[in-house]
């Protein structure tokens, strides 16, 4: 099991490096905040933990994690969208 997970991790790492070798600097902030929203994927783990039937401690920790991860996901995507909506080309004006 662990080997399989490591295998996936390594492949994803290489893919991540390949995906964005050259990014125009104007997109650095949106890329950062957009990928930051993706790192909120931990929301999936938080949902599993806070939805547990028993184990009070785990549920409480999961619940706090869920609030934080949801802020990260919802806030991250919305603010990135707001930023990207401001970037516009001269062509759009005409």
């Amino acid at each position: 099991m662990l080997v399989l997970l490591l295998f996936i991790f390594v492949l994803a790492a290489f893919l991540g490096f390949e995906l964005i070798q050259k990014v125009p600097s104007q997109l650095h902030t949106p890329l950062m905040s957009g990928s930051n929203a993706i790192s909120g994927i931990t929301i999936v783990g938080a949902i599993i933990a806070s939805g547990a039937i028993e184990g009070k401690m785990g549920i409480i920790l999961g619940f706090i994690a869920l609030i934080l991860a949801t802020i990260n996901v919802v806030g991250g995507y919305m603010v990135t969208d707001r930023m990207l909506a401001m970037f516009h080309s001269k062509k759009d004006d005409k």
Partner: protein, 457 residues
């Protein structure tokens, strides 16, 4: 297809959407769509996990509602000038969430004697990376928002203390992974949080773009580590993608400062080289707004070089207005943006985009340097080290070798500056003493607004 396979299939779809999303975020025309695609991926992943059998939805619904409300309000309310702080804060929340997920998994297994060495090691990593991301981001947030001094904080024995903390973490990590002792876990959480604070306090404001990029990378790795704890593929893949892209961004930032990652994180500026730079002789020549107006009036090409000072003065709208007037006056106007200008990667671009500057006018350093000698007027707004010619011609300078925007090649350079002080690096900027440089002291916004008024009269 049974339910588990369906959920896993949905995770694959989500991962693919994340990959496309990140890819599309890398190009201006597709960026917005890319972000939307990745958000759909997130929605699919969340819906999929909600299908899991045997869950109690009470806390889940409450958490989702509370989190969404806070997140949405923060995203709507934030000013563009406050963007670096908000990104740092969100980042920290992500890190803490991953830490808690790792901890919760351990807490849920507390009846068993031992969670197993592999899961134990994954919990250690999740807590370590998540903890550093959380407190590191909070310190970065405090520094960026001015709630704490942006200067580097150094004290005697700092390095020794950090090494001690790191060694203790390794030892405790080993103990926890092999025995599953709860006390070791608590100590680990405390030390990881402490390490995050210790790692960011000695880093000064000008290095913040690198720090933010690294913390962004860490928040992804923390999610990925949490994925190992709960054996969940989508966490591993998505977290790792973010980790890799954040690392690339950090390296881009470091290259733009001609420094290595290790140097930014562990070396204090200038201290590493022991260089101080030549003493600059000559005098700075002040100019008035009227002087600048006459020169700008006749200029055929103008390049603006914005820096953190423009963000502080909130001068972006005034600058845009001046740029528009200059264009209507027949001049060609460009904005030359250094990769590390400001306090986060791409900071200046966001501010100028907010002020409605079309992105064709935003030029990168490498594109604008070759044409600099044909430029009539370069206006430096609150930028300092990124235009210091010492990086090119003074081998004894600590910033020697750092790529800069060569404004000194322009016919005339106006430097808008609050006072006569040095830049973040503490260096005297030899640009200010050049024959073709004129200093306009005062608040950047007032100066620009003054120029706009001159043109209108």
């Amino acid at each position: 297809m049974d339910l588990d396979s369906l959920i896993n299939f949905a995770y694959i779809v989500a991962s693919i959407l994340f990959i496309f999303g990140i890819k599309m975020l890398g190009s201006a025309d597709t960026a917005r769509k890319g972000n939307q695609i990745s958000s759909i991926g997130m929605l699919i992943a969340v819906v999929a996990v909600l299908l899991t059998k045997g869950m109690d939805y009470t806390w889940i619904v409450a958490g989702l509602v509370i989190g969404s409300t806070i997140g949405a309000i923060a995203a709507k309310r934030v000013q563009m000038t406050g963007m670096p702080e908000l990104v740092a804060l969100f980042n920290g929340f992500g890190g803490l969430a991953s830490l808690l997920v790792g901890w919760a998994e351990f807490a849920a297994h507390t009846d068993d004697s031992h969670i197993g060495i592999e899961t134990g090691a994954a919990v250690v990593l999740t807590i370590l990376i998540g903890g550093i991301t959380f407190t590191g981001s909070i310190i970065a947030y405090l520094k960026l928002s001015g709630k704490m001094s942006g200067n580097a904080i150094n004290f005697g024995g700092q390095k020794a203390l950090n090494i001690l903390i790191a060694v203790a973490i390794v030892v405790l990590g080993g103990i926890f992974a092999t025995t599953g002792a709860t006390w070791a876990l608590y100590a680990l959480i405390g030390l990881s949080l402490l390490l995050g604070i210790m790692a960011v306090i000695p880093i000064g404001g000008g290095d913040m773009p690198v720090v933010i990029a690294i913390l962004n990378s860490f928040s992804g790795l923390a999610a990925s580590a949490a994925g190992f704890v709960i054996a969940n593929n989508v966490l591993i893949v998505a977290g790792c993608l973010v980790g890799a892209s954040g690392l690339i961004l950090s390296i881009i930032m470091c290259k733009a400062m001609n420094r290595t990652l290790g140097n930014v994180l562990f070396g204090n500026f200038g201290a590493a080289t022991g260089k101080t730079g030549k003493v600059v002789e000559g005098e700075m020549k002040p100019a008035s707004v009227e002087d600048a107006y006459y020169v700008l009036e006749a200029a055929q090409s103008v390049v603006f070089v914005p820096g953190y000072g423009m963000a502080v003065a909130q001068a972006q709208h005034a600058v845009k207005e001046l740029a528009k007037i200059l264009e209507d006056n027949g001049a060609e106007v460009l904005f030359a943006i250094h990769p590390v200008a400001g306090r986060m990667p791409g900071h200046m671009n966001v501010l100028l985009a907010e002020a409605d500057v079309p992105y064709e006018q935003l030029a990168e350093m490498d594109d604008v340097n070759p044409i600099m000698n044909t430029v009539d007027v370069a206006i430096v707004i609150g930028a300092n080290d990124v235009v210091n010619p010492a990086a090119v011609d003074d081998e004894s300078s600590p910033i020697y070798g750092m790529p800069i925007i060569k404004v000194y090649e322009a016919n005339t350079v106006y430097v808008l500056k609050r006072g006569q002080g040095a830049g973040f690096s503490g260096l005297v900027n030899s640009l200010f003493f050049r024959e073709n440089t004129r200093m306009i002291y005062g608040d950047a916004k007032e100066t620009i607004t003054g120029l706009v008024t001159q043109f209108k009269d």
